[in-house]
């Protein structure tokens, strides 16, 4: 039993979107509108040419935050959304009735309707693909050119992610909602 999370050295991110394409290939995400498990959020530059604020343009690799207190899980009428054994927020497609309440409830826009299974789909930290095959990295992490992502066990004090979080300042997204997200953006 682990408690998986991900730290993101998001200042390394160059918005090349390798992670997005790796995720789609690894997890068979259909190439349709609204189908994406992960994405890179871009805050576009402010100012007027040529006086652009350099610091204003930033890149935020994003995906399901695998909240410890997930709103999507609380609102699911059939418990189709559940906490996996390693703390991942997962969807059981057999139980999903497609009421899409969870999509409304997620503060991170991390969920979508998969047109193949007609159930709600989202990032699984590659648990049914890579982790199940014995890999220790997610597809987005492994492929990243500038090595933004560090995936690992938050409960293991010696894991790279734990050491990183113990030594670096970080911020989380919308933590005021009490979601206890497990994505950490290293400052």
């Amino acid at each position: 039993m682990a408690r998986y999370g991900m730290a993101l050295n998001y200042k390394n991110c160059i918005n090349c979107r390798a992670c997005e394409s790796a995720c789609k290939e690894e997890n068979g995400v259909l190439l349709l509108k609204d189908h994406y498990r992960i994405w890179v959020g871009v805050k576009e530059a402010e100012g007027q040419f040529p006086n652009i604020s350099i610091a204003s343009q930033t890149y935020h690799p994003s995906q399901c935050q695998h909240c410890d207190n997930a709103p999507c899980q609380q609102v699911c009428p059939t418990n189709a959304t559940y906490y996996g054994k390693d703390g991942m927020v997962m969807v059981d497609p057999n139980k999903c009735i497609l009421c899409t309440y969870c999509i409304n409830a997620c503060p991170y826009d991390a969920r979508y309707v998969d047109q193949r299974t007609m159930t709600v789909d989202k990032c699984t930290f590659c648990s049914d693909t890579r982790l199940a095959a014995g890999e220790t990295t997610t597809a987005c992490q492994a492929t990243c050119p500038t090595k933004v992502r560090v995936f690992g066990d938050l409960d293991d004090p010696n894991s790279e992610i734990s050491v990183l979080l113990a030594n670096k300042e970080y911020r989380q997204v919308k933590e005021h909602l009490g979601t206890k997200p497990k994505l950490f953006y290293i400052l």
């Binding site: 994406y36 805050k43 009428p77 059939t78 009735i97 409304n104 409830a105 991170y108 826009d109």
Partner: protein, 388 residues
């Protein structure tokens, strides 16, 4: 209960109003089935709902119908459960209306929920007890059972005691179900404009108003505006209740908007400001849904019954915009304002307009209600029975 032949069932007096109503009903029912077929063929592609706006017109129409149902149930209970004499005459008609509207609501939501059969199974096997939808759905199921039994003992096997017991059960469960429906939105911590106590309470209030509007419409149609005295007395009283309820609603809404705007809280203030600037709100919700009926009642001291019937029509259109606004405004503010691709504009308020299929199914649901009401009116005697 009347036993009538099929031929007689579809025979009605060909007044212009009746013909228009028949035409509208048939057209809407046809639209419903056309929409349903299109949905069965194309799935959710037939809807304009998106990842950022996962709920649309069909959820609005579901809410519209179940609010109508709960409203009729509450209003009927004034006489039937609480024993206020003037209102006892509306019991059967209102409960029939409640059954009909909630059935239409279920028909519409059945075409929105992706896997209704899975729902029936796992609602029982692995109930999500923290889910407002689970409580709402389960309680509404129970509610429908109660009001059906209530109607059964009212109109078919007359048994006043049992109908009253089931009426009380139906009322309580209906209120619980309905405030849970409010909680479906009120529980959304991610949506500051919806999150909080407002919707669960407001839902009960707006249900009562909807119930009043529908009573006015049903009686207006039933008596072709020539109300017997007993009915007129009841409608004047109902009009006064409606006036008071509208005053409270306007008061509620005003404070909801003011508290949302006050202090310019992120997400909440901008969302509400955006919503109230839209004609859906100030014309649909406010003018049609509240002000016109309120002004008519206020100016006539609730005595202008005919005018109130027409105002109730405006009111129901307004109620539609309230339900539409409830869903759309909740989803207005995007959960992320960052761009995802180079060649796009940064997300602002999420846009949504229902597809033809959604309109067909959603508005077609009204046709279902009209048709079922026509049948109910033919088959059962919905007026007060003589011995009562």
């Amino acid at each position: 209960m009347n036993t009538i032949s099929l031929k007689k069932l579809f025979n009605f007096e060909k007044t212009p109003l009746n013909v228009v109503m028949a035409f509208v009903t048939v057209a809407l029912v046809a639209a419903f089935f056309a929409g349903a077929v299109n949905y069965i063929l194309h799935g959710h592609h037939a809807y304009n709902v998106t990842r950022q706006h996962p709920w649309g017109l069909l959820i609005s129409m579901y809410v519209f119908f179940v609010v109508s149902s709960t409203g009729l149930c509450i209003i009927s209970s004034i006489g039937h459960v609480f024993g206020i004499p003037e209102f006892q005459q509306i019991g059967k008609r209102a409960i029939a209306g409640a059954i009909i509207t909630i059935s239409s609501g279920f028909a519409v939501i059945g075409l929105e929920i992706g896997h209704p059969v899975t729902m029936l199974i796992y609602n029982v096997l692995t109930p999500g007890l923290t889910s407002a939808i689970w409580w709402m759905g389960t309680l509404y199921g129970l509610y429908l059972t109660f009001i059906c039994l209530e109607f059964f003992f009212l109109a078919i096997k007359e048994n006043h005691t049992l109908s009253k017991i089931f009426g009380i059960c139906g009322l309580l469960v209906g209120l619980a179900a309905h405030s849970n429906l409010g909680a479906v939105f009120g529980f959304l911590v991610s949506r500051p404009s919806a999150n909080g106590v407002f919707y669960p309470v407001y839902f009960i209030l707006s249900a009562m108003i909807t119930g009043c509007y529908l009573i006015f419409l049903m009686y207006g149609f039933r008596y072709k505006m020539n109300f017997p005295e007993k009915v007129a007395i009841m409608l004047v009283k109902l009009g006064k209740i409606l006036g008071m309820l509208l005053a409270v609603l306007i008061f509620f809404e005003a404070w909801k908007i003011l508290t949302a705007l006050y202090g310019d809280m992120p997400e909440r203030a901008a969302t509400i400001l955006h919503a109230i600037k839209h004609p859906n709100f100030w014309f649909g919700e406010l003018t049609l849904g509240m002000l016109i009926p309120f002004v008519v009642i206020l100016l006539s001291n609730a005595k202008a019954i005919k005018a109130t019937v027409y105002a109730s029509l405006a009111g129901m259109v307004g109620i539609f915009f309230m339900r539409y606004g409830l869903v759309h405004d909740t989803l207005l503010y995007p959960m992320t304002t960052l761009k995802r691709a180079e060649y796009e504009l940064a997300p602002t308020f999420v846009e949504y307009f229902p597809s033809a299929t959604e309109f067909a199914i959603g508005l077609g649901g009204i046709g279902l209600s009209l048709f079922l009401y026509y049948l109910a009116d033919k088959i059962f005697n919905l007026d007060e029975t003589a011995h009562h």
